[in-house]
Amino acid sequence: MEEKENLITVNIDGQDLQVPPGMNMVEAAAILGKEIPHYCYHPKLTIAGNCRMCLVELGMPGRDRATGEPMVNKDGTPKIMWMPGPAIGCGTKAAPGLHIKTDSPKALESREAVTEFLLINHPLDCPICDQAGECTLQEFSSSHGRGYSRFIEQKNVKPKRTRLGPRVTLDDERCVLCSRCIRFCDEVAGDSVLGFTDRGSYSTLTCFPGKELANNYSLNTVDICPVGALTSTDFRFKMRVWFLKETNSIDFETSVGVNTVVSAREGTIYRVKPRRNDQVNDTWMPDSGRELYKQVESDDRLIQCTIDSLATSAVDAIAKASECLQGGGVAIVGSGQCSVEEQFALKAISDGIGAKGVYLVARYGKDDGILMSVDRNPNVRGALMAGLVNDLPDEQLGELGAKIDSGEVTTVFSVKEDLIAGGLTEDQVGKVKIIYLGTHENTTSSLADVLIAGLTQFEKSGTVINQQFRLQKFSRVVPGPGGAIEDLYALATIQANLSGESFPSTVGSLWKQIGTEGSVFEGISFQSLSDQGELLDGSAFEHFSFREGKSLHFEPKKEALAIE
């Protein structure tokens, strides 16, 4: 096989494969579609090599001891010297000429042995275990196990239902001591609180004395736990996982745009988990983002459109809103929480009515250097690229307040933003006509003359642009409440009413328009956008002083750092 540049050839089960030097054998075998089973190995953590499940046979081309010449078989092929004992696939790095056997009798027997050892002290009560259905031990026991037990002794007894922190509950009897969670806390979260006590088979996972697993990434330990030991206190025993339908989504907390997968059954969301994207969030996400699904069914959810606080249909509310917007003296408060499509629609409205000003409200928080960036809006860059705003937003709507006081603005159309929280006084808000499109109750919604109940991110599809200028899509997980209307549909209808021309009211049809405008979006459609997102050309915004600091896969510009 011809050697490509920077690649070396290894041989897996008789098949030659070119891989980068240093790639481990678990990953290399995966390229060939072969699974080397493993528990402790995780692609984003250091190698521990302790579960011994990935044992394979290992060989290197032999060299004559005396002459140093390569040894050859009778047919002229290199003679492979196989090691007497098996070696771990995860800790074996690609080297020129390396041979491994992943399905030889010795490798299979090693796996069967490890599976037997893992099961002897593990509770065999899968039917009542919360991990059942997504348990690596369960899967590998079925594919690599003996199928019967030779163990007649008493099993070890360890603590059940230990509270490790506010969000994580531990069942020590189910722990296979793979140390993934410990390595995650040490290496990714930077919060070393987990460790083992006791020795041998009595080893027990626990928190350091006086500490608890409370960091904002603690639930990642639950995701990477291959068994039912670490469980999410919020999710455990709420739903059998095989009933859950999974939908790809994006974490709306920050400008990082963490890729997520949302699990729901029959219109109810049960949990949010991270989705692997090596360019954005690896396999991690913050705990806070997993709570966002609770907004869907929260008590303060707006489920009914109103005009002058009287319930009405969405159709009437939209018509009334269109009427108000035609009166002149309109300012628009958009949002970094809106999707790119909604921002395009809002931009069309703003242009059509000649708005007296378009504002966003900036949200800034503390940068944790991992996945929580300073900018807590998921889509400020979307607003910039849609042309809705021309500069980075302020945290306060002071300019708008002045325009209200001067009488220049008499109507405010706010999408998702609470004007009071944005810095306007109740007095100022009282002076103007308010049209509000939002999902949750706040002062603005209670004062609104026209209220259009919209949808949360989990109830609609769309795209957002993260801090890397990566366009990423999210999809509808559950339907919205009956009285609410999809934001894009509402905006598109308003625009159609105002302009007298039709405006695309679905994400797919709007993208046909966005993608043909000769802009940075050219050639992209919602359908074709990959789950890993697409990097856009953000060079037009290079001179902006974005506030994000260093996070997992984002290096800020030098000027931005200087401002920090």
Partner: protein
């Protein structure tokens, strides 16, 4: 205490002499630190060459040539090199390092400093097991004395070479004797042995710096190699098995104890020096090098061909008492802890005791060792408590086979070898024992008393 004529005391030359004390004055009166004075005037490489040429093999267990180990040290990284003296003498049946530390600590310190000087180590550590509190006190006192005389510390004897020695006490774990586990423990972590590759101590050892880990007895030998010269040292014992070894004999012999010998047979040690079995007893089996080594059975014949192609046919007492001799008999000389089992010992009970030890000492990192060792303990304990089953013997063998060679460190071998060898050589006794102790109403008190205590 009289020294047996067959003993050849070099390291323990003064240790048991009447009036010999562990203080520095006594040590210097007997020629102590003269070799250090000589060493600091030598080329470092010359000392390393002497050690290499002496064919000195490590006295800790694996028997790896010390000079070769020193030459593996990564000098290209630019990181400091550390010297670690492994004084975690925790292999059951071994008590030789304790004699050196307690009775002649300055010999060890001189050996460490010479070795550190030769390998250009930035700092030396003595990792001493928790169960030697007195030893740690003695070593600290000795280091203090040596510092006052400028044998340890800054600019040793005006040579420009500085090296401090730090005594670090373990916390009573067998696994800390494994060199990478020891390094983890020395760093203040749980003593989980590291995976190799990539964490070879010579490259990524203590604090991810190149590190040399040597046993107490090995480091003391460096001193004597320098004194005698490599060629003279290599004349002691057989080629490739040079120098003396301190054997710790325990169990069913008349005179158990530690004996420094070279070039004799196992029979000479057990019968001539230790006086043979106690009156009325016969020797049933011998564990040659610490409890993890494979057992040698009385009456067995050990045949084969040595390196030069000469055939041999030994009884247990004919086995040459050195690395290659015991290896030729299918076991290992290990740490030099020889346990003699006489006919009063029931092998299944001995195995149950051993399994209780190993299951307690497994660090718990690798699945096969962690789960397998406790499983074996549970089976053997059940056997001696009179609830053996007919298929236990086959099951134990299968479990041991599933552990051997599949773990990060050699502990997996240490668990598996006793089980495999005891079962292979005493299978009939196991089956008979299982049969006898599974009969209802049989007297099981004796067996219970002998069994492991937990």
């Amino acid at each position: 205490m009289s020294v047996h004529p067959k003993e050849q005391r070099i390291i323990l030359k003064y240790a048991d002499e009447p009036g010999y004390t562990p203080d520095i004055d006594c040590y210097m009166k007997n020629g102590g630190y003269e070799m250090l004075k000589k060493a600091v005037g030598m080329e470092k490489q010359a000392i390393c060459d002497e050690v290499k040429n002496s064919q000195l093999r490590g006295r800790g267990g694996a028997g790896f040539p010390a000079g070769v180990k020193w030459s593996f040290v990564d000098r290209k990284s630019g990181k400091p090199v550390y010297m670690v003296c492994n004084c975690d003498e925790s292999e059951p049946g071994t008590f030789k390092d304790r004699q050196i530390v307690h009775k002649d600590p300055h010999q060890l310190i001189e050996g460490i400093i010479i070795s550190s000087f030769a390998t250009d180590c930035a700092k030396a550590f003595i990792y001493i097991r928790e169960e030697m509190p007195k030893g740690a006190e003695i070593l600290n006192q000795a280091i203090k004395e040596a510092k006052e005389k400028n044998f340890v510390g800054d600019d040793i004897l005006g040579s420009g070479y500085s090296c401090d020695i730090v005594v670090h006490r373990g916390a009573a774990a067998y696994i800390c004797g494994e060199e990478t586990g020891l390094i983890e423990s020395l760093e203040g972590k749980r003593a989980n042995p590291r995976i190799k590759p990539p964490y070879f101590p010579a490259v990524l050892g203590l604090y991810m710096c190149p590190t040399i880990v040597n046993n107490v007895e090995t480091l003391c030998n460096v001193l004597h190699i320098l004194r005698m010269g490599a060629d003279e040292f290599a004349k002691i014992g057989r080629p490739n098995n040079t120098g003396t070894r301190i054997w710790c004999v325990s169990g069913g012999v008349k005179r158990p104890g530690y004996y420094e010998v070279a070039g004799i047979t196992l029979g000479e040690l057990v019968y001539d020096i230790c006086g043979g079995p106690k009156d009325g007893r016969t020797i049933k089996a011998i564990i040659p090098g610490g409890s993890s080594m494979k057992i040698l059975k009385s009456g067995e014949r050990f045949t084969g061909k040595d390196r030069d192609g000469n055939g041999y046919d030994w009884g247990i007492e004919d086995i040459p008492l050195d690395y290659d001799g015991i290896a030729a008999a299918g076991s290992m000389s290990g740490s030099g802890g020889m346990m003699v089992l006489d006919d009063s010992v029931e092998i299944p009970v001995a195995l149950a005791n051993l399994m209780a030890f190993y299951s307690h000492e497994s660090c718990g990192q690798c699945t096969p060792c962690r789960e397998g060792s406790l499983w074996l303990k549970k089976i053997t304990t059940r056997m001696v408590h009179g609830q053996a089953r007919p298929d236990d013997v086959d099951l134990m063998k299968s479990v041991a086979d599933q552990i051997e060679g599949r773990t990060i460190c050699a502990f997996g071998f240490a668990v598996a070898w006793p089980v495999q060898s005891y079962l292979a050589k005493f299978e009939d006794e196991f089956r008979e024992f299982a049969e006898r102790h599974s009969r209802m109403g049989g007297d099981r008190t004796a067996a219970k008393e002998l069994a492991c205590n937990h």
